[in-house]
Symmetry: C2
C-alpha cells in the first residue's frame, strides 16, 4: 500500500503561496489596490514572514506587485511596452526619441566600454547621461559614451557639463551617417545611482540594453541603458505599438 502516491516532489511552500496569491490577484484585486501587510499575510497563510516575502519577491519580479518601503504592497499595472530597437536606425537624440538629455561630462570610461569603442584604456570620452520616462514614471537611465573622434567639432562648446553640453554632443553626433546598430539585452542589478534615478532600491532587477552605433566603419558611440525590469517590456521590431496585454510570464503551468 506504499505505492499509492509517489508524491515525489513536495512543492516548496513559497512556490505554492505564490500560485495562490497570483490567483487571488487575478480574481479579488484590481490594479493599484493595496494588499494586507506582510505580517498579517504571513499569519493568514500560517507561514513565517520570510517565506511569505519569498513569494512576494517572485510576484514583484514578474511585474505583478509593487512594494514600497514605508507605504505597502500594491497590485501593479500591466507592464508598459517601451520601444528599444526600432527597425529604422536612428541616432540617440534624433527627432522623436523619448529620451531626455540630463548632463554630459568628459570621463575615462570603464575598460569594457573603451574596448568596444576601440579607444585607449585611459582616454577620456564624452559621457552623456539621459533618462527616459513613460506615463510620468522613470523607466530607464542611460549612459551614452561618445569618443572625441566621433564629434571632432565640439570645441565650440566649452562648458564642462550641463544639459546644453549634452545637447551639443548629440547634435554633433548626428553629423555622422549612421550605418547600423546592434543591441544586446541582459539581466543586471541596479547600481546605486541608477536605482535612485529609477526610484528603486539598489540591487533591483534591471534589463541592461547595450547598443553599439556604427558609422564610418567603426563604433561611433556606445549606449548602456538600464531599464526597470519590473515595469518594462522591451519591444523590438517594426512597431512597438502593438500590445499583447496579458503578461506571458504569467501563463499557467
Amino acid at each position: 500500500m506504499g505505492t499509492t502516491q509517489l508524491e515525489s516532489v513536495p512543492e516548496p511552500k513559497y512556490w505554492h503561496l505564490k500560485t495562490v496569491l497570483s490567483e487571488a490577484l487575478d480574481s479579488e484585486f484590481s490594479v493599484g489596490e493595496i494588499l494586507p501587510n506582510e505580517r498579517d499575510l504571513a499569519a493568514r497563510f500560517g507561514v513565517a514572514r520570510a517565506t511569505l516575502r519569498q513569494a512576494l519577491e517572485q510576484l514583484e519580479l514578474e511585474g505583478r506587485l509593487q512594494r514600497r518601503r514605508g507605504v505597502g504592497t500594491t497590485v501593479a499595472p500591466p507592464r508598459v511596452g517601451v520601444a528599444v530597437g526600432a527597425e529604422q536606425h536612428v541616432w540617440p537624440g534624433a527627432a522623436g526619441d523619448t529620451w531626455q538629455p540630463a548632463d554630459s561630462t568628459l570621463e575615462v570610461p570603464p575598460a569594457s566600454v573603451a574596448a568596444a569603442l576601440e579607444t585607449a584604456a585611459d582616454e577620456p570620452v564624452h559621457l552623456v547621461r539621459r533618462s527616459r520616462t513613460t506615463h510620468g514614471q522613470p523607466v530607464a537611465a542611460e549612459l551614452l559614451y561618445v569618443p572625441s573622434s566621433s564629434v571632432p567639432d565640439l570645441s565650440a562648446i566649452d562648458a564642462p557639463s550641463g544639459t546644453a553640453r549634452a545637447r551639443a554632443v548629440l547634435r554633433e553626433l548626428h553629423r555622422l551617417r549612421l550605418e547600423s546598430q546592434e543591441s544586446a539585452v541582459e539581466l543586471g542589478s541596479a547600481r546605486a545611482d541608477d536605482a535612485k534615478q529609477l526610484d528603486r532600491l539598489p540591487g533591483a532587477p534591471v534589463l541592461v540594453v547595450t547598443t553599439r552605433f556604427f558609422a564610418e566603419g567603426r563604433t561611433a558611440a556606445l549606449s548602456v541603458a538600464t531599464y526597470r525590469a519590473d515595469t518594462c517590456r522591451l519591444t523590438f521590431g517594426d512597431s512597438g505599438g502593438v500590445e499583447i496585454h496579458e503578461n506571458p510570464a504569467r501563463q499557467a503551468s
Copy 2:
C-alpha cells in the same frame, strides 16, 4: 567633532558583501573554480548564512556565479550572446536557425495567446515545442503557437504528436510569405516545465521573448521563448557575433 562623518547611508551588509566577493572573483578566482561552501563563507565574513546567500543570489543574477544543489558554487563563465532578433526576418525552423524541434500537439492556447492570434478563445492551435542549446548547454525553451489557418494543408500528417509532426508544421508554415516580425523581451520566472528543460530550479529568472510573425496581413504565428537569464545575453541587430566581453551590468558604481 560629531560632524566629521555624515555617513548618512549605512550600506546593507549583503550589498557590501556582494562588492567584496565580486572583487575577489575578479582577482582571486578563475572561471569554473569552486568557492568555499556557504557555511564557511558566512563564518569567514562574520555574517549569518541567510545574509551571505542574499549576496550570492545577486551575483548569480548578474551571471557571475553558478550554484548547484548538492554540488557547490562555481565561478560562471561570461554570458553567452544568443542572437534573437536577426535583422533578416526568418520563419522559425528555416535553414540555419539554431532551434531543435522537439514535439508538436494540438492544444487550446492560453487566453493571451488566442487574443494575439485572433483566434477564438477555445479554438485549438498547433503548439510546437522547441529547445535551443549553445556550447552543449540548454539556453532556451520555446512554445510556438500556429493557428490552423496558417497551415491549412497539414492534413497529410495525422500523427497526434512527435518530432516528425513538429517538422511538418514548420514546413507548412514556410509556405507563407513572412512580412514582418516583432519581439518583446521581459523578465519572468521559469515555470516548472521550462525549469526542467533549462536545468534550473522552478522560479529561476528567465528572459521571456515573445515574437509575433506577420503574414498575409495577420498574425500567422506566435513564439514564446524562455531564455536562462543567468547565462544568456540576447543580441538584436545586424550581427550577433560581435562581443563585448565584460559584463556591463558589472561596471563599478
